[in-house]
Symmetry: C2
Subunit: 209 residues, 2 copies
């Protein structure tokens, strides 16, 4: 994979393989695919990303990506803006929206605290969350971060920042995935799912439909 007959190819392969999860072999396949497409199509392909990067806006309320100053979720009067779900990035907003189980609003952190990757609290949208909680009548903050070391660290950091305000802080349940057999769940997940067991009388107590 070292000898390309063209510097243009080499550069294009380099650009693609800079993307996460794309190795040089895949990158070359993508480059050859683009070469076979009409020039206008490739032009449109390229232009889309420049335009995206230049014109993308972030909601001034929740930092979600948005067409307007305020995103569609924050500006939706039917959503409960006393309930804020804290997520890592826009993918989590899409994932939670797709469950149709949540009617509050979001706060996109833009990452999680990860010393290994050099990401500290200052790189995340923390101050605006604290400000929102201190000003508005926010009743509940739901921490919906990944069940990782970094996610847990970030939750703990935010907890310390928010605990003195009059706000209920919760975290999404960790447990055995729906449809999974117990024997395949890892010990920590299974352990947590026992510790955080919920009364069977009303298993939907934390859900809105």
């Amino acid at each position: 994979m070292n000898t390309f007959s063209s510097k243009l190819i080499e550069e294009a392969v380099n650009e693609f393989s800079r993307l996460p999860g794309i190795g040089r072999r895949t990158a070359l396949r993508l480059v050859l695919f683009l070469l076979k497409r009409p020039a206008a199509e490739v032009e449109k392909f390229s232009e889309t990303f420049t335009r995206l990067r230049k014109n993308v806006k972030y909601c001034t309320e929740c930092h979600n990506i948005s067409e307007e100053e305020i995103c569609g979720i924050c500006s939706d009067g039917r959503r409960d803006n006393t309930q804020i779900c804290v997520v890592e990035d826009i993918r989590d907003v899409i994932a939670i929206e797709n469950t149709s189980q949540y009617r509050g609003v979001y706060h996109v952190l833009g990452g999680v605290i990860s010393p290994v990757d050099g990401i500290g609290p200052g790189d995340l949208n923390v101050e605006s969350l604290v400000r929102k909680v201190s000003l508005n009548g926010v009743k509940e903050i739901i921490m919906a971060l990944g069940a990782t070391m970094e996610g847990d660290t970030t939750i703990f950091y935010l907890y310390k920042k928010l605990k003195d305000f009059d706000v209920h802080i919760s975290a999404i349940a960790r447990g055995v995935s729906v449809g999974d057999d117990l024997e395949y769940a890892d010990e920590i997940t299974l352990g947590r799912s026992i510790v955080n067991r919920i009364p069977y009388e009303n298993p939907l107590q934390n859900m809105k439909s």
Copy 2:
């Protein structure tokens, strides 16, 4: 994965997921990655592909991608230009070059015959191969196409086109991969490897070092 909060995101996801092997979930991951990069870097990313598509040249001899009129392999005086290795695309040239086992030149077909995909002989660089064989002192054509129905069809088509010329036609060996156990080889590969067995006295007879 249906609700994006931004049309720009939606468009960018669409562009990425048009690439082979990239689904909408991966596409969104790539888009979010680009959004976090500096604008200049994204500009460079985009610009690379437009420039590639506009400026790429193909070797007039072998149809390999090239910086010049004639590619580095065809113009290399130390290569044996009486021996032509017929391949599907530039990836195969790279793969064979990396073996360091071949010192002849190449002919890049630009695909294989595939009625399902609407690719006929007219879409491939066949005429220029026939012309080369009819004019030059070409001694051997080595068919190095994939061991697929399409590859075999293409080889048979080329064989019919070339058999009346004074040229030796060969095909790369199909057989059990080096390092593989016999029990894991499929029956057809194993069968071919028996039919095409080579004398043990000189197992390297078809290789150049």
